[in-house]
Symmetry: C2
Subunit: 522 residues, 2 copies
């Protein structure tokens, strides 16, 4: 959930490990956490009356620690890898069993053409219902360099962080997921009634693009259950290594396409690569592709010039702009530049504008391009085909479908209608209002726990959360959870079990944060 679900397969060097993303968010926003705390904190009175409940539950959390870590290790031992179609049914079954064990009265495996999803409900007879979006798949773990067997869940001492569990899935997402389930176990073991009902949907193919998630959500029983929810969370470990948290109120959408210019489709150029001397009389599909691409941005490559691209974009609100301005501190600029090895921001914009663009600017990006001879030296040939892989980040109220239609119309209008446009992925932007009960509850827990919080209007990456935030469900959505982990998708993925830094929370602290949230939501 901290990466694009569409980047498939995602090689190690580009999968931004969580540490980088967290660092970037933290550094982007550091120093404004205290200001973030000034936001509305609801339910303080109610929370006080329930202080006794929470205290009792927290003591159970500590007692059940070893049992929960054992369960987490068992869960890690079964890798469900959608890209390899490995343990698809087994993963769903184990997820289902764990949910039953945690108190869900109804669990149901929903088969899809991909991996099955698990749908579960826990009716506590409460007034409110919380939705939980989860995933039970993990990335491959075949890279070299693991310091512990990736399916063992070994806990090792890290000199900076403290006790950390090294495993595939440790942070993404079996660790935080187990901390959430541990909260349910603890509440029951403490003899308390769950303060909210829960509807949980766990998909098994988040790592390959959540291809069938929409289909699952549209099942009548699922849709009906979702319609009862106050909001939806994703169990995360949201703290950076230094303990602060950034709360994103949405994410950009994305259209991902592969453009192919070929002699065959164009009706021009040579059938195959020919000697480049003949370029004087024979058209070049690679030039055709380059010239088509060039029409899509300003000459400096920074503004999208596809016809009508900005038509549907809503202006940022003054509140969003104020949040972004606050986040653009000199120290965060310094950190960002260091992390990315960037000397100047795009088109020489000042940093506050770069921060604003990360949240609000649509992009046209060339992921990759190739055509003709790409080996050593030269080759005097005229190629017959060129390919560009692109992604377009979208902001409210752009949609992936709308963007695709505009791209196609633009190409056709400018004489490039023959270029094949293959949409390889599309997600819409996602938005959650800050003044919703869910976000108020999330903020209240972070405030109570003394965690520096930064609010970011929109994450620059993309994910499937629009399926919850957009109609028909229109749910508030938030990642939530104390704790820290990193190295998503790469060797030595970790989750902090017992931190050294007092601002960081370990497994039990994460569990307690979920307990707090459930009470704050009630």
């Amino acid at each position: 959930m901290t990466r694009d679900p569409l980047s498939l397969p995602e090689p190690l060097e580009i999968s931004l490990p969580n540490s980088t993303l967290s660092l970037s968010r933290r550094d982007l926003l550091q120093g404004v956490g205290a200001a973030g705390l000034a936001a509305t904190i609801p339910n303080l009175a109610t929370a006080a009356t329930r202080g006794g409940d929470v205290a009792a539950i927290k003591s159970v959390v500590a007692r059940q620690h070893d049992d929960m870590i054992r369960r987490l290790r068992d869960w890690i031992a079964l890798p469900t890898i959608a890209a390899e179609r490995r343990n698809l049914q087994e993963g769903a079954q184990m997820m289902s069993a764990m949910l039953t064990d945690a108190g869900f009265q109804h669990t149901e495996i929903i088969q899809t053409p991909g991996t099955p999803a698990v749908f579960a409900t826990l009716d506590a007879g409460a007034a409110k219902t919380l939705g939980v979006y989860a995933m039970y798949d993990v990335k491959q773990y075949d890279g070299p360099g693991w310091i512990a067997p990736p399916l063992e869940g070994r806990i090792v001492e890290d000199p900076d962080l403290g006790k950390i569990m090294i495993a595939r899935g440790a942070i993404n997402t079996k660790g935080p997921q187990m901390a959430f389930l541990a909260a349910l176990h603890a509440i029951r073991a403490a003899g308390r009634k769950l303060p909210v009902n829960i509807v949980l949907i766990a998909e098994g193919e988040e790592e390959v693009g959540s291809v069938h998630l929409e289909e699952v959500l549209n099942k009548p029983q699922v849709a009906q259950a979702l319609s009862r929810c106050t909001g939806m969370i994703y169990a995360d470990a949201a703290q950076s290594p230094s303990g602060d948290v950034t709360l994103d109120l949405g994410s950009k959408g994305m259209l991902e396409v592969e453009l192919t210019a070929s002699s065959q489709a164009w009706g021009r150029g040579a059938a195959e690569e020919v000697h480049s001397g003949y370029a004087a009389a024979i058209d070049s599909p690679v030039w055709h592709l380059v010239q088509a691409l060039a029409t899509m941005t300003s000459p400096d490559g920074t503004r999208v010039t596809i016809d009508g691209w900005y038509d549907d974009i809503r202006a940022p609100t003054p509140h969003e702009l104020a949040l972004l301005a606050k986040n653009a501190t000199p120290s965060s600029e310094e950190s960002m530049k260091k992390i990315f090895g960037v000397r100047r921001w795009l088109n020489d914009v000042p940093y506050p504008q770069a921060v604003e663009r990360l949240a609000n600017a649509p992009t046209a990006n060339i992921e990759g391009i190739y055509g003709g001879y790409t080996g050593p030296g030269g080759k005097t040939s005229l190629p017959a085909r060129g390919v560009a892989k692109m992604d377009f980040r979208l902001v409210p109220n752009q949609t992936a479908k709308g963007a695709e239609a505009k791209l196609r119309a633009h190409l056709a209008k400018h004489g490039f209608g023959d270029i094949d446009v293959k949409a390889t992925g599309g997600v819409d932007p996602s938005e959650t209002r800050e003044d919703t009960p869910l976000i108020a509850a999330v903020k209240s827990v972070y405030a109570k726990e003394g965690v520096p919080l930064t609010i970011n209007p929109r994450n620059p990456t993309s994910g499937p959360t629009y399926l919850f935030t957009n109609p028909p469900f229109s749910l508030a959505f938030s990642s939530f959870g104390l704790g820290h982990g990193a190295r998503f998708h790469v060797p030595n993925e970790y989750y902090v079990i017992e931190p050294k830094n007092p601002l960081l929370r370990g497994f039990d602290g994460a569990t307690s944060s979920f307990v707090e949230l459930l009470y704050a939501l009630a």
Copy 2:
């Protein structure tokens, strides 16, 4: 010599085998051979007085056939392959020995940082001196599919062509080269004095770009010898399978470059590939490259728009235009379209204009382009580097150096001065006037032999011949020689030894054509 010397290494699929080139030339020009014969035929009177000499020599040619084929086989058995630095000295030594054997009084191996060249002179006390440019290297022969051992020189029966020798170097260029030497042997064996003196330069690295040829030509003894020449030939087997010959009066020049746009050189963008979400705030070197390329041609990719690109181009002469118009027959269009799999000519120009462009239009071609992720599917990354390999064909009076300077100035002026331009090769256009004694002699021999001849003002490919045709030497240059062979650079390269088609010449006919030329030049 029928390919670009700069295309290094040249994979099989793009090395147009001679058959294709010949076909294209033939088909491009077919039907106008008879008209070509109407051109000036000089020395007819002189030739008549020497008819007896030539007849006597031709009978020797037949007698020495087996001996010359044996010599050719010996020569083929020693492959000199510059790309592999194989037999460099051995090749030069054998070349030198063969020249001595053929009557050259002076032979000299000139060492270079690459392969040595062989410089030789044969002083016959004649009034005129003919220059001969030769190469003693061959391409690799490791491809599969040879029907005879590539270094054996086996003669096999081809159902269409007759007796052909299959070998690496058979046509490119040991076969025609040996036919030329056989002419010198035959003249001597017939007791005749050579009608012209000969200056011969054989390089050993034509197949890797003639890198040190200029250096060799500038040696004082070589330069002095060249300054005495009436013109320069390259011993070729110029007939197409059906027997006709196209005579190119020049070739285009070429600038070959590799353009690299990188964050590092630009001072923009991220140091390494980063998540594409950050494209909203970080510049893209691949966009930078695409936008830079887009400034180099018209939107349809067909006209070069680099500043000042056309400034030095001389207008085609009415005679050149007339030759080209004559060559653009409907049947040649049909053949060309079939050969290249082309449905429409560049920018929908009619065929006569396509033919004219092949001779007269400068080109900007993208040989290949790559940057970012080029594997299966997509990858949501913002790349840090992009590369385009380009070649620019040049026409008189453009020069490779001038073109490179214009390209650099254009990039700088349009904000792309950071893009690294690495010139990987450069040759100037080559031109020989049709009214020179050399071309007149060449045409007279073809006419005497009854071979349909087409005159083409300029070949669309490029080679090192400008080193001879441009100052300081300013020599007329022509490929010359009857005979036929094909499959340059690929398995089963062949040279016709005894043809079935009466219009084609075999080894002895090729030898006789050289005898004829020497007398025609005298």
